[in-house]
């Protein structure tokens, strides 16, 4: 039995990870800790885990690994504690809002010889895995250009408070696609230009809610990506992850979460999309468990998290300076 703990339910993904853990017969959600005691206690109850008030007491438990779902600017401190206690770590994305913090997180885990994974569940979405296989098999020849989106609804709460989130939609919704493209095309990004800002929530929040990024990858692949919280409240779903690959042998389009029913409910007063198919979080948590059993880094690892952070930091710099930033 692999024993896991969750540190903080500040990020809503924690609820999905907890449900995934509970669905695995060989894994146990042993304990929950959080800065917000009430929220952590409730979550512990909801998922039949032990609630522990004190973080040192929590880390003294016989846990094989922890999943960190605190606010972005708290990742670094929690990784330090968990790594020092010898726990395997799966950290919510972005690994950290600043490159220096992300680097320190990677270093700490190397030093303490614990595995470190970054929570990029898109790598476990079947459509994106199939797309990667086809791209790597050369079905679309050489890839010349990519157009991507990761739109979402405004998540609210600490996501728009810079001291907790460390950034806005450009950070929140660039990391997934940046990681996916590195993984699918096996190349690194070399530069980024970003036009962005608070386009749709003026007077409401103090961070950017949209960025249009123009990036280049090794080999000169031209990439355009939209990171946003532009989906309004009446939109039928949370958002999207889409990718269009222009290759010498054809075009590949992925709309990763376009497995849905359209539901019209008078009670909801809007049309809604009900998803079906696999939950990518399950694959992410399963990989974390396997990495513990095999005493290795989970994939995607800390370096993957660091690279994604470096790209968002460069995009934010470009957004301020209106210049292309080299990576």
């Amino acid at each position: 039995m692999v024993k896991l703990g969750i540190m903080s339910f500040a990020h809503m993904h924690a609820y999905s990870y907890a449900a995934c853990v509970n669905a695995m017969p060989d894994v146990e959600l042993t304990a929950v800790w959080g800065y917000n005691l009430r929220r952590a206690k409730q979550a512990a109850q909801q998922f039949n885990a032990r609630f522990v008030k004190d973080v040192n007491e929590f880390l003294a438990l016989d846990l094989d690994g922890v999943i960190i779902c605190a606010e972005n600017t708290r990742h670094h401190a929690l990784v330090e504690l968990a790594a020092s206690a010898g726990k395997w770590i799966l950290c919510e994305k972005p690994l950290a809002p600043e490159s220096s913090e992300a680097k320190r997180i990677v270093k700490i885990c190397e030093r303490e010889r614990v595995g470190l994974g970054t929570a990029f569940p898109c790598r476990f979405a079947p459509s994106l895995m199939a797309a990667r296989d086809q791209l790597q098999a050369g079905d679309f020849g050489d890839i010349y250009a990519v157009t991507a989106t990761n739109h979402g609804q405004f998540p609210g709460g600490w996501f728009a408070v810079p001291e907790w989130s460390g950034g806005g939609a450009v950070m929140d919704h660039t990391v997934h696609v940046a990681d996916l493209l590195r993984w699918m095309l096996g190349r690194e990004f070399t530069s980024v230009y970003c036009e962005g800002g608070n386009q749709l929530h003026q007077g409401e929040i103090d961070v950017d809610d949209l960025g249009s990024l123009h990036l280049e990858m090794e080999g000169g692949i031209q990439v355009q990506h939209l990171a946003s919280w532009s989906r309004c409240r009446s939109f039928p779903t949370w958002g999207d992850v889409t990718l269009e690959f222009i290759g010498s042998k054809g075009v590949l389009n992925v709309d990763a979460f376009n497995q849905k029913l359209t539901v019209y409910s008078d009670a909801a007063r809007k049309a809604e999309w009900a998803p079906f198919g696999d939950n990518p979080d399950f694959g992410l948590v399963r990989e974390f468990v396997t990495s513990i059993q095999e005493a290795r880094d989970p994939s995607p690892n800390g370096i993957d998290g660091l690279r994604a952070t470096e790209i968002t930091v460069a995009a934010e710099k470009s957004m301020r300076t209106h210049r292309v930033v080299k990576l």
Partner: protein
Amino acid sequence: MNVAIIGCSGMGRVHADALTKAGLRVALCVDTVRANAEALAKAYGAKVAASAAKAMTAKDIDAVLIATPTPFHLEYILKAAKAGKHIFCEKPFCRTEAECKEAIAAAKKAGVKLFVGHVVRYFHEFEAMKAQVESGKIGKPGFVKISRGGIFPGGPKSWFANYKMSGGVTLDCMIHDLDWVRYVFGEPVRIYGKALMRSGKEPMDYSQVTMRLKSGLIATIIGTWAHPAGFRVQAEICGDGGMVQYDSADAPMSSMKRETGSGPSMIVPASPVSESPYQREWEDFAAWVRDDRAPRVTPEDGMIAVRMAEAALESSATGKPVRL
């Protein structure tokens, strides 16, 4: 009103139908490929001429349609203006902003009307989107994305594959959306772009452009001549109170022909309207000529659209954003 058509292939044919429906008459067809001119003339009961000079000297010609490859637009505009003919010029207006300026000056001097066919301003779906924005239903708009394109036009030997002539998908196709965004949302201040522009046996162009407007709005426009087949337009406008989306693949008709053999078939969507946008731009042009009613597109609009496309291409070449 009698119209001479200069350039009788692709767009010339579309315009012949549209201007006839708008109540004008195809009187003369000119093309360097005589068979093209003859075919079109036959269909519309028009005369044929080997050179454009005939269109300029013929007394019964009131207006000239220029539907040649882009680099020849200026030459014919200058000739037609000199001959006192009104001018309907297919977009892009000219190959460069400087040429556009020269064309505008010549038309002004000659006192002839000069119209640039930015037909997307007349498309029903784009009119409907503009109306939604203006109704305030989506709140204050802050972001627009438009994608347009499909297969590379005209095959590898066509003039479109000569990017010096055509300017690729950015100047020839995306210019529609550059113009429309400016028409609805105002002046651009900064443009960044990247265009693929692959030549050779299988030419391919794919252009990604982002602009910041004076109003603060961000517009991202994708133009493709890199798809193996088809043509599709998608648009979305996001405001602080909602959003509006359009997709040409969502159409009242779609068809798929049974192909012999095992080759791929393509679903072709169709969205018929009783009055085509091309007919509507001819009606606008005719009303300008006849009644001096200001048209929806001015030659200055056409020139600024060319300037925007040039800025996107300059950005692509230098790797830096271009200020306007």
